[in-house]
Symmetry: C2
């Protein structure tokens, strides 16, 4: 029987919690590297991020062995590894649908561009917006999206429309071969099998905060 790749746990899906923490590791390691920190133990990283050292080591062990006994981790080396694990060793082409305030905020977010995310085109239905440029990208009529997708390989579709439009946008994107969707509309979108979707539900986040504000009060009524 062939040997398991060293340090990697057997064929298993990566737990959701691990996936959720990878970007946090990435963010913090980037910060540390900027500060010139060379070396880091799982104990230190855990303290910085409010996690246990064991959890961090366990998380990383899904992907390999990146540390050294008695030393810890080299920040630059671990950062590079985490980037590769996430998939930041390539660029991603995106389209943005919806050029309202939120769409403009997303489109103008410098942090994405830096990491290799390229918004290639923006679509909207509003005639007042169509033809304008936003941070160097032209806003096209939504009706041209299918044609655009046919001609341009697109990794990620961003939905920043009102919720009434979002399901249709989602279908057009999927039909055009976009297999990953980043959704900002407050809707429970249905996607075809094989299409990945990640949501930013602003209101849900605010309501979680509000629940916690009221948690004590309600507990003792």
């Amino acid at each position: 029987m062939p040997q398991e790749k060293k340090g990697r746990k057997k064929e298993m899906p990566i737990p959701k919690g691990v996936v959720a923490r990878l970007p946090i590791y990435f963010r913090h390691l980037t910060e540390l590297q900027k500060l010139g920190t060379e070396r880091l133990s799982s104990a230190q990283l855990g303290e910085d991020l409010d996690l246990t050292a064991a959890q961090i080591r366990s998380d990383l062990s899904y992907f390999g062995s990146f540390g050294q006994q008695g030393y810890g981790y080299n920040v630059s080396e671990l950062l590079k590894q985490v980037q590769n694990i996430i998939g930041l060793d390539r660029t991603y082409s995106m389209v943005l649908v919806g050029a309202g305030n939120l769409g403009k905020a997303i489109g103008g977010y410098e942090a994405f561009r830096e990491k290799g995310f390229q918004i290639k085109a923006i679509f909207d239905v509003d005639p007042l917006l169509i033809g304008n440029y936003h941070t160097g990208v032209i806003i096209k009529p939504f009706s041209e999206l299918p044609d655009y997708l046919q001609k341009n390989k697109t990794d990620i579709g961003i939905i920043a429309t009102p919720k009434e439009a979002s399901q249709e946008v989602c279908q057009v994107l999927a039909a055009g071969g976009v297999s990953s969707i980043w959704n900002f509309s407050p809707a429970q979108l249905t996607v075809p099998d094989g299409v990945l979707i990640e949501h930013i539900h602003l209101t849900d986040s605010l309501l979680r905060l509000v629940f916690r504000i009221n948690e004590q009060r309600k507990q003792f009524v």
Copy 2:
């Protein structure tokens, strides 16, 4: 020994997963009510939201008994209960710090206002923005925030600044007595004890999507 309140599980903190699902229930019930649906079983709700019926009943049982055997739940009644559980039976006063694209998007988001969230003032450091109105709210100099907070009870502070500024903004808010913070900056903010914080980390969400895009590829390298 006094009787436990009926249907409520003993004194225990509400699990994170339950808190995360409450806004989802709220959102879907609102939708159903708009459509005129009167009645709903946990099985149906589970199917709609891709959860098990048992999980939904278990979640609700933390707060009471809202259904009826053989019938299910009355949509309006359950919606009202969920609103109360979350704390949507009152209004919340907010300040927004940062009037860039993202801040403007948040400030203009109609869905919040409808639910009782009121942005009372906006602060920024940019002289070009100060003095302008955004959706009826004046943009003030950030230097006036401490004074403003002293004079105006504020439930929630929204941070929509670049990450360089966010820790300072956070401190000024907390010092001014704001005990709940909704943070949109990509930073690991430190808050004093007793201050609640909820993050929207856009990049983290995008990176989770990217990880999933690459999951198969990486699995077999």
